[in-house]
Amino acid sequence: MKKYLVAQALALGLCIGAQAQQGPLGPNGSIDPIGRIKRLTGTVTVERGGKTVAVSVSSALLQSDCLRTGADGYVGLTLADDTLLTAGPGSVLVLTRFAFDPTTQDGELKVSLPRGRVHVVSGLIAKKAPENVEFKGRNVALEVRGAEFLLAVPGETE
């Protein structure tokens, strides 16, 4: 019973962190996108500031966005530092933190995958300052050294 409650809390809290502050304001007071959706199929939604937003190819992504894919969903993103993220069906992918200065290529990237599968091609931040890049599964945390990799986090009942 206790295990069941823990699983429920995990399921409800998968997008936790997605309500945190948004990214820096751009020159026109707009929020700068941190990346874009490049490929999409099936059901894919984004939770942003507690609301569910419909997205499609070329939709902009913001810091703290939480992407969810349905049982038939695939989504491929390119972030502003050239990081490529591709999530498979049944995934919850949180873009917890992203900052990138295109002039100096300094920045920070934190991504978590509470559930599902993601393919990652690391980008310019990982090249310049790998210590500023962190990927998290449910119980694992990764340090990246200029790498392409896969992370798979099964759901509690898989």
């Binding site: 695939y74 491929g76 295109p102 393919h119 200029g146 896969l150 099964p154």
Partner: protein, 197 residues
Amino acid sequence: MRLLICGWAAALLAGCAAPERVVLLPQADGRPSAVIVHSQGPGGAQGLILAQPYAEAQLDSGKLELVQNDAASVLRDFGTLIDFQPRRPRLFTVNFRPSSDTLTPETENVLDEVIQALAAMPAGELIVIGHTSRVGSVQDKDRLSLQRAAVVAELLVRRGVPSEKIERVGRGERELLVPTDDQVDEPRNHRVEIKLR
């Protein structure tokens, strides 16, 4: 205890998790790479370094283990996901005639190539990145490289690319094509890269 009850049938009934997996893939350019995997186990912190292509870290019932896969087994498990990744960024370079705002004749038609490639790419965007040699102050070089980027962006806009599809970036002297001493005016370092992604 968890080890004992987390058999296949028990997993279905009791909701035990299948292992978390991290698999290192070879880099597209063939360079060595690594992922370091950390986890809190019952016996404290554990870590593993994945440095061989297709090496895998499995976190099963709290224990982190190294498994060596081959390309075929990883493609079988993850092939559809891998095939769905967005296109890799593609770089084009244009050079300027010395101390001018006009492109060299050799790079004039690079812009047409860029525009064709952009049209063929779903949700494509351009990042126009200016570079300078090592002459001048950091601020001067950053400003000049951004101006160069703006010049190329304007050429693209005049050829019909929507301005909002173009990001302009000045990298100054931070990414020299030809490394030189400070204050050396190496013409090959005066260039603008156009990244399509």
